[in-house]
Amino acid sequence: MKILVCLCPVPDTTTKIAFGDNNTTFNSQGVTFIINPYDEWYSVVRALELKEAGTATAVHLITVGKADAEPVIRKALALGGDEAIRIDTDSNDPYVVAAQIAQYASAENYDLVLCGKESIDYNNGTVGGMLAELLDMNYLGFVSDIKVDGNNVTVLREIDGGDETDSCVLPLVISCQKGVAEARIPNMRGIMAARTKPLKVVAPAAISSVSNIVSFEMPPAKTGVRMIAADNMDELVSLLHNEAKVI
């Protein structure tokens, strides 16, 4: 079984978000980039577990990004994985990202494609579903457990107000969230090994974007908290009813 894991570099979760050029670009100055946590903690680690268990024969890591994405891919390679692929283009349009990955993946006959449930920067969560359609595969989204038995995969999938156990045969695209695996920290051996692992740079396919980010906006600042005495909850209830009008 060959696994492809999709990776997205994102700003560290503690980043204070700021925009430049009259709020049209994300200001990445001084920002530390990490692997999207859903991709790293769950997709990468689960793929490695499947390789360690002898279920998977190869784990490939792929990202769509320019050269500045490489340190992030090397970090994923330090966790494990046989080779990495970087498609040499940059886009905020999820269709372009998915179509680029699909273009590469279609020639490689992957049995399982894993991605995070969404990236924590643009929160789209669309690449997995788009890939499934472009690769003509079934798609199981928002999964918190993956078991593989031969050609058959059983997952626990989030649904409205609960979860569902689904099974399906490979090939499949699965988007991962908490529960799929436990986060790992790369060890020194992995970090050394990652330096010499193959990192293929692939020229992008000609794919036109179908959306673009025009501008950004910060949410309105709160006007200031109104403190209520801890022994006067009747007042809080009254304010929620009469002033905030939410109950």
Partner: protein
């Protein structure tokens, strides 16, 4: 030319968020001078289908295939594509939930259509087709312009109030040809919390953090939730410690919610937590630490011990409910 909206139902009753999506689609249709068609899949009665008219749908296309009572992203994608082709859809609206997030990207990829995931407002048609959405897990908004002919949107639940109007929709059967692959996903087991309000569409949410000290104390939070008719949520450390199920975790790496009222008890308000909840209309923070960063993001604050404040608030809510 038209706008189509994929609806969702639970055992044949439309979910509130689907009514919101239909109304959202109707508003877009009005802006574009066209009409909105709702799409429903699986077992839903004719009477129930017609009710979508009260939310702006002129027409409902119904694919009555019973196999659609189980979700399959492939099959639902075919349903939407068939409806879109028949209606000449220019805009396709799904919900930003586990169903819509699995279907809309497939539809968009098939049509090579631009997509906005998690829209929080109506499109601006003054220069293109620009839709506002959450980015950086609610720390900011982006305005995304879709440049393709067909536009796909997933709507964040609770983005606008649902107002029931007059009218009844005409219902038409839609036939879609499926293949075996469309139903290759077998549902083995479904487990749902019964009777509680789903977090993503809850208007009122009561949330607890480490300040509650352990899962055995959660009943004081649940009492408040019950008195308000609210859903319960929690912070990441609480879910990580398995005090509460992961689906209750809100924050940057959990769910993003935008209820009318968010009451945070014993949550300090780390930036990652705020990211998931700062779209809430009104935030109440209860904490015994005056330095808790959450107070800066709150509308109302109560400085005190959650073990004393929560039961008092529950009593106050009960008293209010009894008199109103």
């Amino acid at each position: 030319m038209s706008v189509i909206v994929l609806t969702e139902h639970a055992q044949g009753s439309f979910k509130k968020k689907s009514l919101e999506a239909v109304q959202y689609g109707a508003k877009i249709a009005a802006m574009m001078g066209t009409s909105v068609t709702a799409v429903a899949a699986g077992n839903v009665s004719n009477d129930e289908l017609q009710t979508l008219g009260a939310y702006g749908a002129q027409k409902v296309l119904h694919v009555a295939d019973a196999r659609l009572d189980n979700f399959s992203s492939r099959a639902f994608t075919k349903v939407v594509l068939a409806a879109a082709a028949q209606e000449g859809a220019k805009v396709i609206v799904c919900l930003h939930d586990t169903t819509g997030k699995a279907v809309a990207p497939r539809v968009a990829a098939r049509l090579q259509a631009g997509m906005v995931a998690g829209a929080v407002g109506l499109p601006d048609l003054s220069s293109g087709f620009t839709v506002k959405k959450n980015v950086f897990s609610g720390k900011a908004f982006a305005f995304v312009n879709i440049t393709s002919d067909v536009k796909v949107i997933t709507l964040m639940p609770n983005s606008s109030a649902v107002v029931k109007g007059e009218g009844s929709a005409s219902v038409e059967a839609l036939s879609v040809s499926f293949d075996d692959q469309d139903f290759a996903v077998q549902v083995q087991q479904v487990s749902k919390a019964t009777g509680s309000v789903p977090l993503s569409e809850a208007e009122l949410v009561v949330s607890g953090g480490r300040g509650l000290k352990g899962p055995e104390n959660w009943h004081i939070l649940e009492d408040l939730a019950t008195s308000l008719g609210a859903a319960t949520a929690c912070s990441r450390p609480v879910a990580d410690s398995h005090w509460r199920p992961h689906n209750e975790h809100v924050g940057q790496t959990g769910g993003t919610i935008r209820p009318n009222l968010y009451i945070a008890a014993g949550i300090s308000g780390a930036i990652q937590h705020l990211a998931g909840v700062n779209g809430s209309k009104t935030i109440v923070v209860i904490n015994k630490d005056p330095e808790a960063p959450f107070f800066k993001a709150a509308d109302y604050g109560v400085l005190g011990d959650v073990f004393e404040v929560l039961p008092r608030l529950t009593e106050a809510v009960k008293k209010f409910k009894a008199n109103n």
